[in-house]
Amino acid sequence: DQQVKQNSPSLSVQEGRISILNCDYTNSMFDYFLWYKKYPAEGPTFLISISSIKDKNEDGRFTVFLNKSAKHLSLHIVPSQPGDSAVYFCAASAYVSNFGNEKLTFGTGTRLTIIP
């Protein structure tokens, strides 16, 4: 049972345009969401996060939007740059007594290719 879903395995975007990566979740207990970026032969690196008390968080070119009623979040990258080409993972966690939000559930990832 995949609780975090990234339905687009791949996405190609022209350099300079906006990249929008989507993520859906089914567990209503999830209250913290993160995006990770992964280059080949490297581990995932943290990109941006959002708590369920917010609907938007912005960090430079990266913005994450959360729609709790739809159980949907999205990552916007604008403008897209060639260095943004990577696999992007959405992750979610639910607060658990004694564990906090330590345990993450990941999606399967979306491979983003930025076309120069």
């Binding site: 581990g43 995932p44 690196t45 345990k103 993450l104 990832g109």
Partner: protein, 114 residues
């Protein structure tokens, strides 16, 4: 630079032959995690340590064990690897503090079972 280090990066083992993967961190984080990731799949949490407290996921096979002898090191032991255990194994750490849930990942160890 503070980091999460995994050795070896590539490991080949024979079917049924025990293998140990290692992870070390210089971040002084309280929590260490082991994930298994198979091709085109999501990283799957196997277990994690909060300090010395071990927390196993319910669906982690008994074939997988872990040790954390000190804050800096964590090991993944696969007692009798099967062909289905071939995967990328990712180690991660986090501070384990309220409001700070970012996990820092190592580069992973790719395990091949022959």
């Amino acid at each position: 630079d503070a980091m999460v280090i995994q050795n070896p990066r590539y490991q080949v083992t024979q079917f049924g032959k025990p293998v140990t993967l290692s992870c070390s961190q210089t971040l002084n984080h309280n929590v260490m995690y082991w994930y298994q990731q198979k091709s085109s799949q999501a990283p799957k949490l196997l277990f994690h340590y909060y300090d010395k407290d071990f927390n196993n996921e319910a669906d982690t096979p008994d074939n997988f064990q872990s040790r954390r002898p000190n804050t800096s090191f964590c090991f993944l032991d696969i007692r009798s690897p099967g062909l289905g255990d071939a995967a990328m194994y990712l180690c991660a750490t986090s501070r384990g503090l309220d409001g700070d849930y970012e996990q820092y990942f190592g580069p992973g160890t790719r395990l091949t079972v022959t």
